[in-house]
Symmetry: C2
Subunit: 196 residues, 2 copies
């Protein structure tokens, strides 16, 4: 499915407000996670490796969520009933996000959409894109904690390619940096401005 | 130097308030980062490997901070003057923290001190332990972003041992999980309770 047909996916459209930080500040965050042009290239390579495995990656991640009631919770009405349509629609955007993560360099549209993804995890905008009736906020502690599983689980998929060990390593580290960078940006709506 | 002689280090003392979360919630966060007993053992092994290299690790981390004005900033008066005594005192506690990170399992004293470390990065308690006059708050975005450098840089030190590649990998992943877990806990004072 082409990305403009994914329900609720608004990357690059006028629906997405401008990022609240400057490209200079974004640059400093990239420096802090040691993200450079080599990482951009490694992510492009990762994009090629992952393209045919996206469904398998999502199976692992959704399986991980499904195994933990306190995580599934965020896809439920708060009374134990998961919203299957919501889960499916988000899954589609999650797949596209893997592509977007690998499609470097990151420009202003990319940066703007990061803040949108952040908001969609909070009571500011959760459920809106899918008109869902699920609980209205994902606690920030789980967002940060997810850095580990979302990073560690990708390695086997990157390794499932004919790239050298060194290239797999480079792709893995670029992915790790990008996840930390993105979760950092996504934390923005959770935190009073003067603390962020 | 034994840990009770480290200036400003109050781990396990009555000066440290109880953690604001239950051990059950802590358990859920551990599950989210896939932290288990094997990781506890790997961290103990890492503690032995790192013990004689602590100064070298700190040189790398302090060097990284020193290379970036926008990071050194948090050790300055806000007008470009780094507080050398503050840097030195914090360094001592940073070294001890490496030991504490490896000294598993994590109990209530450990958990309580995580929240104290979090507060010490914020305007709630920054500068107090050292009676310093530096800027009064470390922006949360850099705290989260530091997950990458603090994790990635440890690997070469873990590898500088006579452990097998598989053991080095296990130590590295246990370290990675622990850093994500700790930064998750440290984010607590930055965020309104209902968002965290
Ligand atoms: C590293 C951490 C995480 C990553 C990479 C991630 C990724 C994503 C992505 C790409 C989307 C779709 C964005 C879009 O609308 O285009 C999304 C939405 C969502 N995620 Fe996450 N997520 C993370 C953490 C979490 C956690 C901890 C939960 C809770 C179990 C969660 C639950 C959800 C939900 C419920 C939505 C739908 C939000 C809405 O209503 O629009 N996510 N996530
Ligand atoms: C993964 C991220 C980080 C780790 C593991 C870390 C670790 C530590 C540790 C162990 C301490 C001493 C705690 C104690 O008092 O016992 C400390 C304090 C401190 N850290 Fe961090 N830190 C991180 C992020 C940052 C960042 C991004 C900065 C800004 C450059 C920073 C600057 C400081 C300062 C200024 C103190 C002294 C706080 C005080 O006044 O007591 N840290 N950090």
């Amino acid at each position: 499915m082409s990305s403009d047909q994914i329900p609720g996916y608004t990357y690059g459209t006028d629906d997405v407000p401008d990022a609240p930080i400057s490209m200079d500040e974004f640059e400093r965050l990239q420096q802090t996670v040691l993200f450079d042009e080599d990482d951009e290239e490694s992510l492009q390579m990762a994009g090629d490796v992952l393209e045919d495995q996206i469904d398998d990656v999502l199976d692992v991640w959704y399986g991980f969520v499904a195994d933990h009631d306190f995580l599934v919770y965020y896809f439920t009405d708060g009374e134990g009933n998961p919203d299957e349509e919501y889960l499916d629609r988000v899954r589609e955007r999650f797949g596209q996000w893997i592509r977007d993560t690998c499609e470097t360099p990151y420009d202003e549209n990319w940066l703007n959409y990061q803040f949108e993804i952040g908001r969609r995890h909070t009571r500011e905008r959760k459920n809106e894109a899918d008109d869902a009736d699920a609980v209205d906020h994902i606690d920030m502690r789980y967002l940060v904690a997810f850095i580990y599983p979302i990073t560690a689980t990708i390695r086997e998929f990157l390794a499932d390619s004919d790239h050298s060990e060194a290239e797999v390593d480079a792709m893995y580290h670029a992915w790790f940096k990008s996840i930390v960078l993105q979760v950092t940006l996504w934390s923005y709506p959770y935190v009073p401005d003067e603390n962020w």
